[in-house]
């Protein structure tokens, strides 16, 4: 039976990261772009937690730094989503669109 190693998780994380990057770079809809950013953050988180397991295997069960990092990243994601969606609503109210490439004014 194939053993699941840290590397498996890293590959999965990389794949998700790439998907997120594609989403951010190609989509016009801001909401979906924000979701793609969440995808990227999650890919990073997956890596961090996988590293945390790897680190635990070497340094013992208290070496949970990766998990702590992941929690910080989640906090950050919450803040980012709140502010990002706030900006989105403000933008939508003024321009009546949620398309990324129509955000071309510094002031309105």
């Amino acid at each position: 039976m194939l053993h699941i190693t840290t590397l498996h998780y890293l590959v999965l994380g990389a794949a998700l990261f790439l998907l997120g990057v594609i989403g951010v770079l190609t989509r016009r809809n801001v909401v979906i772009v924000l979701m793609s950013i969440e995808l990227i953050l999650n890919a990073v988180n997956l890596n961090l937690v996988a590293f945390s397991r790897y680190w635990q295997g070497i340094h013992g069960p208290t070496a949970l730094h990766g998990q702590v990092f992941a929690i910080f990243v989640i906090t950050d994601a919450a803040a980012e989503a709140a502010v990002g969606l706030g900006i989105l609503i403000a933008f939508f109210r003024n321009k009546e669109t949620v398309n990324m490439d129509e955000v071309n004014l510094l002031k309105w």
């Binding site: 194939l2 053993h3 699941i4 190693t5 840290t6 590397l7 498996h8 998780y9 890293l10 999965l12 990389a14 794949a15 998700l16 790439l18 998907l19 990057v21 594609i22 951010v24 770079l25 190609t26 989509r27 016009r28 809809n29 909401v31 979906i32 979701m35 793609s36 969440e38 995808l39 999650n42 988180n45 937690v49 790897y54 295997g57 070497i58 340094h59 069960p61 208290t62 949970l64 730094h65 998990q67 702590v68 992941a70 929690i71 910080f72 989640i74 906090t75 950050d76 919450a78 803040a79 980012e80 989503a81 709140a82 502010v83 706030g86 989105l88 609503i89 109210r93 990324m100 490439d101």
Partner: protein, 177 residues
């Protein structure tokens, strides 16, 4: 501690779910469908955290991401009507460049991987056992224990960040300030 059951099977199941979910997120026209796909991805990832002996992170992932952030997303999607948006072009003009960039990034990953793994095993499995029974307590220890709470300061900064985010969100979303 009993050994985990059928780990590869669950890993590939969850990984497949996540990848498919991720693809759906970036390809769906309807933002609500994207959000649903993202929720699926996030929940699958929470399950992967459980497999990685990180139950607390999994719990936080469920309660914060799936129960909090995604509800916020759905809320906003419902507030802004996307009917018109769905009839429009979904991808921007530089989509080809975007995909090329992402492909380049992927190529970079592969290159790094092949360059570093030549002749050695990356991330060998450690000898220590993984304990999840007091995972929460250990994380709490790292965050705010007197002896080894090395992330105390970062924790406080994070709370400050959240405060700023609250104010920012309110300021941004308020109709008339």
């Amino acid at each position: 501690m009993n050994p985990p059951v059928a780990t590869p099977f669950f890993f590939y199941l969850l990984a497949g779910t996540m990848i498919i979910g991720g693809i759906l997120v970036i390809t769906r026209k309807n933002a609500v469908h994207s959000a649903m796909a993202l929720i699926t991805t996030l929940l699958a990832q929470a399950a992967l955290y459980l497999m990685l002996y990180a139950p607390f992170v999994a719990g936080v992932q469920i309660i914060l991401y799936a129960g909090g952030i995604m509800v916020l997303f759905l809320f906003v999607i419902m507030l802004i009507n996307l009917e018109r948006n769905m009839k429009e072009r979904q991808f921007n003009r530089q989509w080809l460049v975007g995909i090329a960039t992402a492909a380049a990034l992927g190529g970079l990953f592969i290159a790094v991987y092949t360059a570093t793994t030549r002749g050695k095993v990356l991330f060998p499995e450690g000898r220590m056992s993984y304990v999840e029974a007091d995972n929460t307590q250990k994380i709490a220890g790292l965050l705010f224990d007197r002896g080894m709470g090395q992330y105390m300061f970062a924790f406080e900064i994070a709370s400050l960040l959240l405060l700023v985010a609250i104010i920012g969100a309110v300021v941004m979303a308020k109709k008339r300030i």
